[in-house]
């Protein structure tokens, strides 16, 4: 891994002052530099994306045709469970923390993250957790198979890997909380003089809000799974109905974590898009203040909508009404964000390099996921669609076409700053178009399957569902290959320093302090607080 990135050490710019920096494996294991830790996070997340992706392709392989061809149902349930857990906790969340590590100090003019050693710890904690999750497939009884939501009392029937899975999630949660504290403290205390909160780049803003969400809800998840653990082994009966426990209570606690979690995975994506769209429209972000308010209101609303995941548990009618209304309300700030992005593009001077393609693709496809969310929020319709493939389609539209596409947008946008070379534009465009088309081929038919009533987490299905499942499986493999292509032919060459040398500010319309330092960003930046202009987006020497 280090060899790949060694060009950092002998980058040919004068600011390079890390003669004393550690080299070899020590550079990574003892890393306290926010850029190195950011790189570690991003590579880790991509590895987990590949692992989770292989699991997804195994699922699609089994579902290509009706009947059991490759896997037994119990193993199939392990696949769906681990695909969900790995993608949420191993890929999407760490990837955004990677972005935060790399970009927040650069964007706010800070020399590093506030707690450099805790930063190292929060990354390296994830390795044993990830190993525990992935290797559970090879332990007695196989991986946990209760779904990523780990509903009781099914979790009480699971084998010993349920416990290692719970332990892994505890560790990942601890890591997330440390990361969040680090981000909050960095943003609140280490902004360069003159960068007031309302002049801060949107990406830093969305992460500030996300970090608060994380601190608020990760302990709730920890509580839920700890209670599951004590139910399993220490004779408590929080969720065990056989001894008077309440399995629905588990769902309430889980989704009190789970719904803010959804926004934890999408708010930083909004931040990236809010950086990329103005850069390529060559026009300031429209309605900066309203973007901040919209993001905050989404975060606040996310705490009072959790039970829309539970309309079929049989809540009283007043409960269903409340959660239906609250959920539909989230459409308002989300719509404001979409309108603001389009207003930013309006009468701009746009070019469509890969970051912008992914950003526009994000806006277009994410909005579809938003609309299906609105449809699912209507409790009477949700009765038809709950736990069907419609839900699967919906959350992949917001998490893949949403979070993942935004991350691709961010990777292409900041890659020149990270590696000092431009990625190959043609390859970036190929990656975008194949991903966009394959994504829709995979997930669009799932809406039809869901409307027709195909339940999710099914290892086998009636013949009538065969055609759309076959289409989805084909799309999934193309989508998977597109991501391998992305790594081998876009990321790897850049990491090896192959390609056109990037200018300090390779994007004509880009704004922000990260473009005030050379490309690649030197090992240490802003060691002395920079003096900023009135907009706090340029350094005045």
């Amino acid at each position: 891994m280090s060899a790949v990135l060694d060009h950092h050490d002998h980058a040919h710019d004068g600011h390079d002052d890390h003669g004393h920096a550690m080299t070899g494996w020590r550079r990574w294991v003892y890393a306290t530099n926010h850029k190195d830790i950011g790189t570690l996070y991003l590579l880790f997340a991509f590895t987990m994306l590949m692992v989770g992706g292989v699991l997804a392709l195994m699922i699609r392989l089994e579902l290509f045709q009706p009947g059991l061809q490759f896997f037994q149902p119990e193993f199939f349930n392990q696949l769906t469970t681990m695909h969900g857990l790995i993608m949420v906790f191993g890929a999407i969340m760490p990837a955004f923390v990677g972005f935060a590590n790399w970009m927040i100090p650069l964007q706010i003019g800070a020399s590093d993250m506030a707690f450099a050693r805790m930063n190292n710890f929060s990354f390296w904690l994830m390795i044993p957790a990830a190993l525990m999750l992935v290797t559970s497939f090879f332990m007695p009884g196989g991986a946990p198979a209760a779904g990523w939501t780990l509903y009781a009392p099914l979790t009480l029937q699971m084998g010993p890997t349920m416990d290692s899975g719970i332990f892994a999630m505890h560790i990942l949660g601890a890591s997330s909380i440390m990361g969040s504290i680090n981000i909050i403290v960095t943003i609140l205390n280490m902004r360069a003089p003159g960068m007031t909160l309302m002049k801060m780049p949107m990406f830093a803003w969305t992460w500030l809000i996300t970090a608060y969400l994380l601190i608020a809800v990760m302990p709730v998840l920890a509580g839920a799974i700890t209670m599951t653990l004590t139910d399993r082994h220490f004779g408590t009966s929080f969720f065990n109905p056989a001894a008077g426990g309440d399995p629905v209570m588990y769902q309430h606690i889980f989704w009190f974590f789970g719904h803010p979690e959804v926004y934890i995975m999408i708010l930083p994506a909004f931040g990236i898009i809010s950086q990329v769209v103005p850069a390529f429209a060559r026009k300031k972000l429209f309605g900066y203040a309203s973007m901040v308010y919209a993001t905050s209101s989404i975060a606040i609303l996310s705490f009072i909508v959790w039970a829309h995941h539970m309309f079929t548990t049989g809540m009283p009618v007043t409960g269903q009404l409340f959660f239906m209304y609250a959920t539909m309300l989230i459409a308002v700030p989300t719509a404001v964000k979409i309108f603001n992005w389009i207003a930013t593009m309006w009468r701009g001077s746009m070019t469509f390099e890969t970051p912008m393609l992914f950003a526009v693709g994000f806006i277009f496809v994410f909005t579809m996921g938003g609309f299906t969310g609105l449809i699912l929020a209507m409790a009477p319709i949700d009765i038809q669609l709950q736990d069907t493939y419609y839900v699967v389609a919906h959350f992949h539209y917001v998490l893949v076409a949403g979070s993942l596409f935004a991350m691709f947008s961010g990777v292409y946008y900041w890659m020149p700053k990270w590696t000092g070379v431009m990625y190959n534009e043609t390859r970036g465009k190929i990656h975008f178009w194949v991903s966009l088309i394959a994504f829709n081929v995979t997930f669009f038919p799932m809406h039809f399957l869901g409307l027709a009533g195909m339940p999710r987490r099914y290892a086998d299905y009636p013949m009538q569902f065969a055609d759309f499942n076959a289409v989805a499986s084909v799309g999934a493999f193309f989508f998977g290959f597109a991501q391998v292509y992305f790594f081998l032919f876009v990321v790897l060459p850049c990491m090896r320093g192959q390609g056109e040398k990037a200018a300090q500010k390779p994007w004509e319309g880009a704004e922000g302090l990260e473009w005030e330092v050379p490309s690649p960003a030197p090992f240490h930046t802003f060691e002395n607080p920079p003096k900023l202009n009135a907009e706090a987006n340029r350094i005045v020497a």
Partner: protein, 390 residues
């Protein structure tokens, strides 16, 4: 060949065939269940499901209109405001008026969406005044149906996926796969048409979910708790659903099949089933010993007779006493059995022929040997069976 009515689906299917991807099995749509390449909700068989369809169609129209409007603006902008066509960037970046407008607009739209949804939601949660109540119990991995109240009360059975289809699944669903693959059960839930059926759900082990798309019903079955939902089928037919909450390895193999019968057919079915169930319960030719039969008779008496005849067997008012009654003490058992089977005094004493032969024999034995009645007579179920046919 497949029958496909939807032209979009037909086109897609054609493309699939070209790619050589078709599963190429002669599947046809399943009435009451999913159709081949179905692209919308399952055709409604209840008013509630119809309302859900309307809501969904309404949402689709509103969302599509907004989607087209918003993205026409975006693509127009992408087309016109490009650097490559020489467009120079404007400098505006704020407008309070516009911001307020496009915060208010979605808010108002959302309110108009919520209004009709509220109406449907309140209606679908109203489980009062049902004609028939059935308790549905989720087991790993089958459904149990208990008819609690209404015609067919007392029926109780288990509904399993046809084991041949489970085997077929293991074999990869090759060859001649039936149209109702993964939907066929041994004992479907049977209900009358046009009657409000209240479903009470619970579970024995983990959470399951009882779902029938055509009825617009999906209700989790939660162990240790009871929840309810309802439906009123508007037409006769068979309707299909599947367990909709992950419940372990056989989750995909516990379908729900509901047979909706006309009122007469349903009555006939319920009668026949009740008789079968009673017959199955006890062999009428079994010869019972006194203590066993007496104990059982005590229970039958406590459940069915005690309300009128009183614990002391003395009755009261128009209710005749059993304690010391000639018909109870008589050596000839036939008369008392006939009273139980057919009732007496124009139904003041109702007919108890729905009770099994064993239960009737037991309660007769009990009355003949309780209180001051010490006849030491034993009535065997076989005698009741003989009297039934008279």
């Amino acid at each position: 060949m497949k029958r496909i009515s939807n032209p979009w689906a037909a086109g897609l299917f054609g493309v699939l065939n070209l790619l050589g991807l078709s599963v190429a099995q002669a599947t046809e749509s399943l009435t009451g269940g999913p159709a081949v390449m179905q692209m919308n909700l399952t055709p409604a068989a209840t008013k509630i499901a119809e309302e859900q369809h309307f809501l969904h169609a309404m949402m689709m129209v509103i969302c599509l209109v907004i989607f087209v409007a918003v993205f026409s603006v975006m693509f127009y902008s992408i087309w016109k405001h490009r650097k490559s066509v020489g467009h120079k960037p404007a400098t505006f970046s704020e407008s309070i008026t516009v911001e307020v407008l496009w915060t208010a607009a979605p808010f108002i739209i959302v309110i108009f969406m919520a209004l009709p949804a509220t109406k449907v939601l309140v209606a679908q949660k109203d489980t009062t005044n049902s004609d028939l109540t059935v308790k549905v119990t989720g087991y790993q991995w089958k459904w149990g149906y208990d008819y609690l109240k209404g015609e067919g009360e007392g029926l109780s059975y288990i509904s399993n996926l046809d084991s041949a289809q489970r085997t077929l699944s293991n074999e990869g669903a090759k060859g001649d796969v039936p149209n109702d693959y993964l939907f066929r059960v041994d004992n479907p839930l049977v209900v009358p048409v046009g009657k409000k059926i209240r479903i009470i759900t619970t579970a024995d082990d983990v959470i399951h979910s009882w779902s029938v798309p055509a009825f617009g019903v999906k209700q989790d079955a939660i162990p240790g708790f009871v929840r309810d939902t309802w439906f009123k089928a508007e037409r006769v037919g068979t309707f299909y659903g599947q367990c909709s909450e992950l419940c372990g390895k056989e989750h995909a193999y516990m379908p729900i099949t509901v047979k909706v019968l006309s009122a007469e057919d349903y009555s006939a079915w319920a009668q026949a089933e009740l008789k079968k169930a009673a017959a199955k319960a006890d062999d009428p030719n079994k010869v019972w010993v006194f203590d066993e039969l007496f104990k059982r008779g005590e229970k039958v008496y406590a459940t069915n007779c005690v309300a009128c005849h009183q614990p002391n067997g003395k009755g009261g008012g128009p209710i005749k006493p059993l304690d010391g009654a000639a018909v109870v003490l008589a050596d000839d058992h036939a008369k008392q059995i006939q009273v139980l089977l057919n009732g007496q005094n124009n139904g003041a004493m109702p007919s108890w022929k729905a009770l099994s032969d064993t239960d009737i024999a037991a309660v007769v034995t009990y009355t003949k040997n309780n209180w001051s009645n010490k006849t030491n007579q034993l009535v065997q179920p076989a005698e009741v069976l003989t009297q039934r046919s008279k």
